[in-house]
């Protein structure tokens, strides 16, 4: 009775919240889909496409760092595995791009298991070192192997074909990655709302307490790492035909760091935040090209300021709810914490109040 009332009251607020969020999602998707119609400038399209690619990688890493709370400093390795598998299979063995995604994923998963199994039981700082090493190893292999084309890499990678459509233009790849971002974001959302997502967050928040929930923490950490690897590898497989050439330089530590930055700037664990972070990381240095060499310095300084002011990123998960609580706190209405029926949603959806 009392409970049912509370729940249904909560539901009403949540429904309003959901409707608003749904509208927002639709608006963003439509806007994103229209970008290539708004400009023919190949440079802009190139940047936009790069931003989408970074979003895909950031969504993958978000599962590892954002959800499970494990610092992975070698994520570009999985990106490289996908790109090189596709590059090699499509140029030397004449596989279609789509068909080459699967073997890339398999190799990425095997590597993730080999690296993850012994190291994921370690504390996070050890993990950072091991994954960093893994990233370096993959890059070194790419530089030194004949099959991977050595330092020059692989070129003349054929275009992606989808049925009878051959994707060759920047616009085409923009849409391919546009769909990929949506698929990854949806997948992440589904995971987050399931026992997997909850288990990962528990591990991130308090690993020992997670065990008391019956969560096999070692298994779930490995799952997170493997899911990240899969998304990274798929992104790489589609990146290869988009650029038509790949070289080891694109898969180094700086790329890994860029992905970590995208996740950290946007907000660990928040899907919107992570995508926004990726856009910022990709676009900001381009916008400030006029600063020439200083632009990275400016970027670095802003990054430090951001991490001091908003340590959990620009848009952390439940950012709005958290804000509502803080506002109420500041107003002094919740001296002993949130009062009864302190539905945060009330503040974000004022129309629902009446």
């Amino acid at each position: 009775m009392a409970m049912v009332e509370t729940v249904s009251r909560g539901r009403a607020k949540l429904d309003g919240f959901r409707a608003m969020r749904g509208g927002l999602v639709l608006a963003v998707v439509v806007l994103g889909a229209l970008i290539p119609q708004m400009t023919q400038n190949q440079y802009y399209l190139g940047v936009a496409f790069q931003a989408e690619m970074l979003m895909c990688l950031a969504l993958g890493l978000n599962i590892v760092v954002g959800y499970a709370g494990m610092l992975d400093l070698g994520f570009a390795a999985f990106f490289a595995i996908g790109a090189y598998t596709t590059g090699i299979l499509s140029t030397k063995e004449h596989w279609s791009i789509l068909a080459s995604i699967a073997p890339g994923v398999v190799i990425a998963v095997v590597c993730a298991l080999i690296i993850g199994f012994p190291t994921l039981r370690l504390r996070s700082d050890y993990l950072a070192v091991v994954t960093l090493g893994f990233g370096e190893i993959i890059q070194t292999i790419a530089i030194n192997l004949n099959q991977t084309g050595g330092p020059t890499g692989i070129y003349a990678i054929p275009a992606l074909t989808l049925g009878s459509v051959v994707v060759t233009s920047n616009t085409g790849y923009y849409y391919v990655f546009f769909v990929l971002v949506i698929v990854f974001a949806l997948f992440s959302t589904r995971l987050r709302g399931s026992r997997l997502g909850r288990a990962w967050l528990c591990i991130r928040e308090d690993e020992d307490a997670a065990k008391a929930m019956g969560i096999n923490t070692n298994h779930y950490k490995l799952y997170a790492y493997v899911f990240g690897a899969v998304l990274g590898s798929i992104t790489g497989s589609l990146y290869a035909p988009a650029l038509t050439a790949i070289s080891p330089a694109s898969f180094g530590f700086s790329e890994s760091l860029l992905i970590v930055m995208a996740v950290a700037i946007g907000g660990l664990g928040s899907i919107w935040g992570v995508m926004f972070g990726a856009a910022v990381v990709e676009i900001f240095p381009e916008v400030f090209r006029s600063f020439a060499q200083a632009r990275l310095l400016v970027f670095g300084v802003l990054l430090v300021i951001l991490m001091v002011v908003r340590p959990r990123g620009l848009f952390p998960e439940r950012a709005f709810q958290g804000m509502a609580t803080r506002v109420r706190r500041r107003l002094g209405r919740a001296a002993v914490g949130p009062g009864p029926s302190a539905g945060h949603v009330v503040l974000t959806v004022p129309t629902e109040e009446s």
Partner: protein
Amino acid sequence: MTAVLETEHLSLQFGGVNALSDLSIQIEAGSLHAIIGPNGAGKTSFFNCLTGYYKPTSGAVRFRGSEVTGLDAAKVAGLGIRRTFQNIRVFPKMSVLENVLAGGHLRATANLFSITVASPGFRRNERQLRSEAMSSLEFVGLADQWNNLAGDLPYGMRKRMELARVLIADPVVVLLDEPAAGVSSVEREELSRVIQRIHAQGTCVIMIEHDVDLVMEIATEVTVLDNGRIIASGLPQDVRNNPDVIRAYMGRKRK
């Protein structure tokens, strides 16, 4: 009388320190068994041995007749032995509801495929869990807090949320490490009622508690630890009048 949980000659050493020495306890099914003793007596260490957080140096832990000594903490939780922590451990950046859902982790059954496509089976399972989580929250009187971040709850409410998180798992044995420590007298009454209700449902409760009045009021059995040893055990009123206990525990604890 059947013991649901028992230890046999359980010992635990940290370097040279004997945290637990030769502890043999039988916890009867359906009992509300209080563990009391002065600070550093080894009460929490005992819980940690029962729940897989510490591996005993020697001795055995048996649950429903089968040995669970040295099992991983997650496995022990999976058997239906659930606990709370002395220094409350909530998942602060998750909502209250999600904290409780996490307690029902092993009852979420969907596989990766049905999660990805949000299959009807997955949705049904999640709906079911949610309603059970709400019932657990209602049980501890926190239903109206379901959408708040756990980290935003005041201390007493966190303690109750930890209880809800235990209850959703439908546990066989519940271990509570100082459930009433540091809470106001109003909250203490509330917690005491909740614990009694859990016990009344037939769940076995083992409770570490410094509040002797609370123990005397609700426990069916009391074991007193001092320096990692059992110095007395039995009915609350017998233990209360035991001279060893008065010397070792009450004498020091209660001014």
